[in-house]
Amino acid sequence: MAKATIGTETGAALPASGASRFQGAASLSSIVLPLGLAFIVLAAWQLYVTIWQVPSVILPSPVSIAKYIVARYDILLMHAVPTTLESAAGFLFALLLGVAIAIVITYSDMAREALYPNLIFFQLIPKIALAPLFIIWLGVGSQSRIAFSVFIAFFPVVIATTAGFLSVDRGILRLCRSLTATEWQVFTSVRFPMALPHIFSGMKIAITLAIIGVIIGEFITAQAGLGYLIIFATARADTEVSMAAIVVLCICGLLLYGLVALAETVANRFYSADSR
């Protein structure tokens, strides 16, 4: 519910108490339905592979992938750690850069006019095509992968955060002005909390893009990481390993996404809390 509290327009009512009666049933179905569907798909996959005896190089069965993950979790973990850390680093830099650009765009008309069209144009570049250049510029270390990850992930943060900063009700700004509020007070107590839901939706897109950035970086050059493992295993026609790496990658992505969602809950709680 905290998610809905922040940023709801004054006119929008929160879910009525009548809806909460069904919440138990709703949350049950919201767990059972997706898990059930996933199970059915996996079962069909398993059946298909077993009945038609598909070779493991073409498509390994879910059970064999699971077995591999359990058996060689040490190797997978070893590769998961750098990918996750680099993704997290890329995401954090993208967040800082994105919010900083959004602040500049919000407060300076000149910067907005100069920056905005260029940012859009920048966005139209097929950025994956630039990945090899990052290796040339920054070398083969993790810095080039993190930089590429930032490059790919910062844009949604800029767009969402700017939209958030500009979404502030003009009446509230006028009220602040009538109270002789400083620009800093307006920012910390009105603009920033008002923009938070927007910032978090930008962050949720950015975290997935940050992972993609790191994986692409690892495809090109790396000595470790899940992207490296996928490329390495695929080159050796070891499809089971590369599938296992993809599964682990999904889990890592889920973990990072979960952390963002958690941060959102904490932030909402902080801003909507009554002072004591």
Partner: protein, 293 residues
């Protein structure tokens, strides 16, 4: 020294709290300048409730915003408590047409918002916030978010917020015009009750004749284009006022006079660019209906 005190009191009582002298406001656009307020002079005494009444676009809100220091007059001067108004000031409480509450904050925190902005000690004002919230009938809703309140309730929160730092003067810009008619009547009674407890100087902008007559000590009618003050009228009804006042013959007569004044200005003001028919009864009635709602 002792002999001076009464004199000082007398002069304080005589000096109006708000004094606008020949205030003009012109917006310069690319096509032609728009004269929002051609000339307005207005004195408001301490503790007085003055309504600025007129049709939409007559510059009454502009005048209010200039008194608030949110707009600068093009010419003329506005004095508040003997000092010229050049910028927003801390001793003003403002209520807008929309409640403009922070949607993520509770009622209590919204009421305390000015205290935070003004960097006053929160602890000292917490009790006052609670008693204001109780006064407007929102006891039990202190920890609800604006999204959980009705429009009338939100506007009550806005009233509490405007009063929390105990401002000298309360400026209200069509505060109830977004509410339905029934809620609006209730809010009018609630406001006059609140002001019986927390006595304030009030300047109240409205386009409802009934509302202005019911609430005010004085009604100032603005109109014409370019806009000026066309009537300044004392409301003769005793206080405290309740709904019953509106049923008296006297109230009906006052409303009628206000309506006719607005109609007259409306006739050769807003309609002048169409056709100069002044005494068309059908037209006058429809104009009056649109003003009264």
């Amino acid at each position: 020294m002792l002999s001076l005190a009464p004199n000082a009191d007398v002069s304080a009582a005589e000096t109006p709290l708000v004094s606008a002298a020949d205030v003009q406001k012109t917006y310069f656009t690319r096509q032609s300048p728009i004269h929002a307020v051609a000339s307005a002079s207005l004195d408001v005494a301490r503790g007085e409730f003055v309504s600025l009444l007129g049709p939409s676009g007559c510059g009454k809100s502009t005048l209010l915003m200039m008194i608030a220091g949110l707009e600068r007059p093009t010419a003329g001067s506005i004095m508040l408590a003997g000092k010229p108004v050049a910028a927003p000031r801390r001793d003003i409480g403002i209520i807008f047409q929309d409640a403009t509450l922070l949607p993520w904050k509770s009622t209590l925190e919204n009421v305390l918002f000015p205290i935070r902005i003004l960097r006053l000690p929160i602890e000292k004002y917490r009790d006052r916030a609670h008693s204001l919230i109780k006064m407007v009938g929102l006891a039990g809703f202190e920890h609800k978010k604006p999204g959980e309140l009705s429009g009338g309730m939100r506007q009550r929160v806005a009233i509490c917020r405007a009063l929390i730092h105990d401002p000298e003067i309360l400026l209200m810009d069509e505060p109830f015009s977004a509410l339905d008619a029934i809620t609006r009547d209730q809010m009018n009674v609630a406001l006059s009750e609140i002001l019986e407890t927390y006595r304030k100087t009030v300047i109240f902008v409205t386009h409802s004749i009934r509302e202005a007559a019911f609430l005010s000590d004085r009604v100032v009618v603005m109109g014409g284009r370019p806009s000026t003050i066309i009537l300044d009228m004392k409301m003769p009804f005793p206080r405290p006022r309740r709904f019953e006042v509106e049923e008296t013959q006297e109230f009906a007569q006052v409303c009628r006079q206000l309506r006719l004044t607005i109609e007259a200005a409306h006739g050769h003001g807003q309609n002048s660019d169409r056709e100069p028919v002044k005494q068309d009864p059908g037209k006058a009635t429809s104009a009056a209906v649109s003003i009264i709602e």
